[in-house]
Amino acid sequence: MNDLRMNEKELLQHYKTSGDLSTLGKLYSPYMSLLYGVCFKYLQDPDRSQDAVMQIFEELIQKLRQYEVDNFKSWLHVYSKNYCLMQLRKDKRTMQVDIEDNLFESEQKLNDTSEAKWEERDFEKLEGCMQTLNREQQECVRLFYLEQKCYKDIADLTGYDLNKVKSAIQNGKRNLKICMERKENGK
């Protein structure tokens, strides 16, 4: 079986041309446990989450032959998330999705490729931008990125809730990025 040695891109291409389901299985299988976690996050039911993972696979059978997919992993993540949100909408069940959380993620997607070159004055700028963050974000970002503390330690140190620490870091990171890019453009 030569497809054991195929990397993800080759598998993807092979599936697109051949429609061979076992190839798709090989492609999909490594992500199944992550996908289950993602589905559970939204559906919050073990059976429904399992069904969703299988149903997403069914949909990929068609979709992956139609679309040119560059980054399978992030494509799969976004696709699955949308699938679960659609399920919830079908249920007419509302689900509280942290808008900041999702903003952060989709934005990150857009900025994935941009690679910044760092110079001396960028660090000064970074310090300036740090000051623009609110106290929680500043605190958490500093502890996480500079002191390399894990969320739990930060929660213990600051007394914030673990989820608050997480979103403070995610949002702080995002705001910093925006700030850095704005200053750069404004020059």
Binding site: L21, S33, K41, F144
Partner: protein, 235 residues
């Protein structure tokens, strides 16, 4: 494998089985990998990783993939079956045709066999052993062949039973018929016996059946025999 590695990390992370450095490392990765972050969030909601659940899920996927392969095979076999079926159909028709022809050929052959011994067309003899011990020296078969060769075409059909004795030269003598046979039949029987092959034994008693050649009997023959048998009969 990377899959399992990540899963065990998530498991350890959620259950606080990681060192602070490892936790930081995973959190850092998750910040750059929203997929991983979502998965962690999900498993945290579920209070951990259920390995059994995931292996069931893996089995479901395997089954799904195999089913399709099996279905494809089934479809393939369907085509194969169709081809086999078609071939079988052709063979069946061929067989029927062969049987049909064989049937008639066989019938013709059987009829031919009957023809050869049919008294209507050939003269035949039936030794009646209750009245004698004589037999032709060269055998009954040869005698019958002689009779058929020597039979006069003008003789009408019928049967006659004759008794005779064998003289010292092996020639039938004292030939007399039983009952009141037609004189032409009797004369012919005497002629055939006395000019024919030599005999052995002392007394003979024979039933000679002359072929039927009159129109009435030929009409009868027509009813009995299928038309194509005539070709054989004429030989």
């Amino acid at each position: 494998m990377e899959n399992n590695y990540q899963l065990s990390r998530i498991h350890n992370y959620i259950h606080g089985l990681m060192s602070k450095e490892e936790m930081f490392q995973l959190e850092r990765e998750a910040l750059d990998d929203p997929f991983l972050q979502d998965a962690i969030d999900g498993y945290r909601l579920q209070n951990g990783v259920d390995a059994r659940q995931l292996s069931l899920l893996q089995q479901r996927l395997n089954r799904r993939v195999e089913d399709t392969i099996a279905t494809r095979h089934a479809q393939y076999f369907t085509w194969q079956r169709l081809a086999v079926g078609a071939t079988a159909g052709v063979l069946f028709v061929t067989l029927l045709a062969l049987l049909y022809f064989n049937h008639f050929n066989g019938k013709a052959e059987r009829t031919t066999d009957v023809e050869l011994s049919e008294p209507e067309n050939r003269i035949s003899v039936e030794p009646l052993l209750d009245g004698g011990d004589a037999s032709p020296r060269e055998g009954w078969k040869t005698f019958e062949q002689y009779l058929n060769k020597q039979l006069m075409a003008s003789v009408r059909g019928g049967e006659i039973i004759v008794n005779f004795t064998i003289d010292k030269n092996g020639v039938p003598a004292n030939i007399h018929a039983e009952g009141q046979p037609e004189s032409s039949l009797f004369d012919e029987a005497v002629r055939l016996l006395q000019t024919g092959p030599k005999w052995q034994g002392t007394k003979g008693r024979l039933k000679i059946v002359f072929p039927v050649k009159d129109e009435k009997n030929q009409a009868q023959a027509n009813v009995i025999k299928p038309p194509h048998c005539f070709g054989v009969a004429k030989k």
